[in-house]
Symmetry: none
Subunit: 208 residues, 4 copies
């Protein structure tokens, strides 16, 4: 991804912003398929060369551009005294983010590249997934403390159980992305990791 965040030269930052802005505008208008390095250059009044100087290709640019919109939306979860509520808030912020353009369509268009190119995959992991998992950690800890979750709750699996269905619906099984979905997956997760209940099957975690 583009480094060189801070520059001695103001032009650097100015053209960088113009490029990212135009990219987001174009993503909002069409889908990733119609995003073209040339169209970005044209709209931002920047030379194609300048874009390639900073991003390897249009996919890196697009991912950068959408992450700018994404990241600020995900505030640290606050303690509201209710694990279920906190989890729903956590997951619903993603659901709401993806439910509105251009985030949903952009993600749909980018996902193959993220899943396919190690660089992009790692960027997404480092800049989105890991931070989000870290944000989730205190929620889980509070949940354990409250007795809502089992002490050995697996953070990674829980994270995937929360977000997987959201993306599955976004990508494959189709709309709607709404609060019902958020609540549904949270309840599933709570069921899975709650300390109570008959499900404490002794052979439960017998490996393959």
């Amino acid at each position: 991804m583009s480094d060189r965040i801070q520059s001695p030269d103001a032009r650097l930052e100015r053209s960088r912003q113009a490029i990212l802005d135009s990219t987001r505008e174009l993503l909002a208008e069409g889908d990733v398929g119609s995003l073209t390095v040339e169209s970005v250059a044209a709209r931002s009044g920047v030379a194609k060369t300048t874009i390639y100087r900073r991003w390897r290709d249009k996919w890196e640019l697009a991912l950068d551009a959408v992450m700018i919109d994404w990241l600020p939306r995900f505030d640290d979860p606050v303690d509201v005294g209710d694990t279920r509520e906190e989890l729903i808030t956590f997951i619903d912020s993603v659901v709401r983010s993806l439910a509105v353009p251009p985030q949903g369509p952009a993600m749909r268009g980018l996902i193959s590249r993220i899943a396919t190119e190690p660089d992009l995959g790692r960027a997404y992991l480092d800049r989105v997934i890991e931070p989000r998992r870290e944000q989730l950690k205190p929620v889980i800890e509070r949940g354990i403390a409250r007795g809502d979750l089992r002490p050995d709750t697996d953070l990674r699996l829980l994270h995937e159980l929360l977000l997987g269905p959201v993306f599955y619906r976004l990508l494959l099984s189709g709309p709607p992305l709404d609060r019902d979905l958020s609540a549904g997956v949270v309840d599933a997760v709570l069921g899975a990791f709650s300390p109570r209940g008959a499900r404490s099957n002794p052979k439960r975690r017998a490996r393959r």
Copy 2:
């Protein structure tokens, strides 16, 4: 998708098979990005035109080709007397399918098109998701009968809760795709939909 013509002419079926075979070979060798209509034509000894006569573009062809490998793998779940086991078997068939090339890489490369083009999305829905959901239905019914699942279990949500995390790991959070994952998601689902336990929260399904 390609209309499967019941043809009096064997050439039809022969060239169709040659195309699909070559496509799968190429998918197994590289990723979807390096799959080219021209390379398929070259390898299968078929004219490019013949490919375009049957498939709109390389994405439809690729999806057709991978589905040929997929579909037969998904047998109807058998009653083994254990809901958890049946669900794990169900989900693990997908996990194992995606864990080996070319299915996993192919899916990673195709997902954006499936998520983006209505035709492909519908094809995937009709030919993969819906049939699988139908296969899941008797498992659920048996689970309800056994008292393992609540009678009002939502088939669609359950299906998404099972498969979502698998695809999330395939596409975003990274490997491994293994039996632990299958077991983990099944336990989550069983927790979510089990009739017992404290989680039967009355305000549980309060809408947004």
Copy 3:
């Protein structure tokens, strides 16, 4: 060119006519560029194979088709007692023929093939140019007898002097193709081949 004029099988002749008719219709509608073997087959209700059985390619077919319209138009010149008039009539039949669709456009489209492929060139020579030259011969002979033309008048050159400007205008220097042109070239020819002096015809240059 297609031989097999008479056939023991009536189907032969019937499909042959259907093909030629459709070809002429299509030529009248568009130009040669949009004449397609497939469109001919479609319109005439005949299989493409049947067309290729009789004509080497669409150019032979097209030439055959337009010649059907052409040839009957060129009647043997009648003796009207005036060489200039007879020549003008002779040349003007060509001018008028080419001035109306589809003959003009068809000729414009076919000319490169005629000029380029020996078979077509020969066919045109044998079936159009030579017969026309023969038709011209008695006119010349009468002209010589009347003292309007020199006895050593070169038939071939005269023929070319008459028709060349017509085709030049059709193909290169642009419209109009009209009676002025016919008269102009005839006067030139008469000038060229008249025994000296006699050609000073007072009404010679009465224009349109």
Copy 4:
């Protein structure tokens, strides 16, 4: 036609020349039918795209290429004191040009397009026919001054009478294109446009 950009960048002119050279080479080797944009690209070491950036299609390219050979050959007619001689020189420059490859074959192959596509027709008119007609004008004026031609001589018709037979022979009635032809058409024209009587030139024309 290709806009001749006065470029600060030498690459422009270099690739332009490479393309035109290759085109002429290929035209000299085969006919227009075997001229292919792809073959031009291959031979000139230029990308197909670069060709299409400058010429609409292979026909415009071919016409441009042959005109480069043509135009410089047609010098302004010089006053030699003899109208007949000047006219023969004028017309014979065309005859000789067309008599040798690749000009003749190229013209045969291009003529349909020139006659058919307004853009090409206009280009030919503007860049070949009109300038040639202008070159002819002083010859005519001198001829009138000398009393060899009538004062109301129609330049356009005269031009067509001169060139028509040449092209007619090139395209339809077949070879040879030689000096006899040039002399023949010039004599015809002189006959047509001479002030009455004067044309009785004793040495006028011993035919072949």
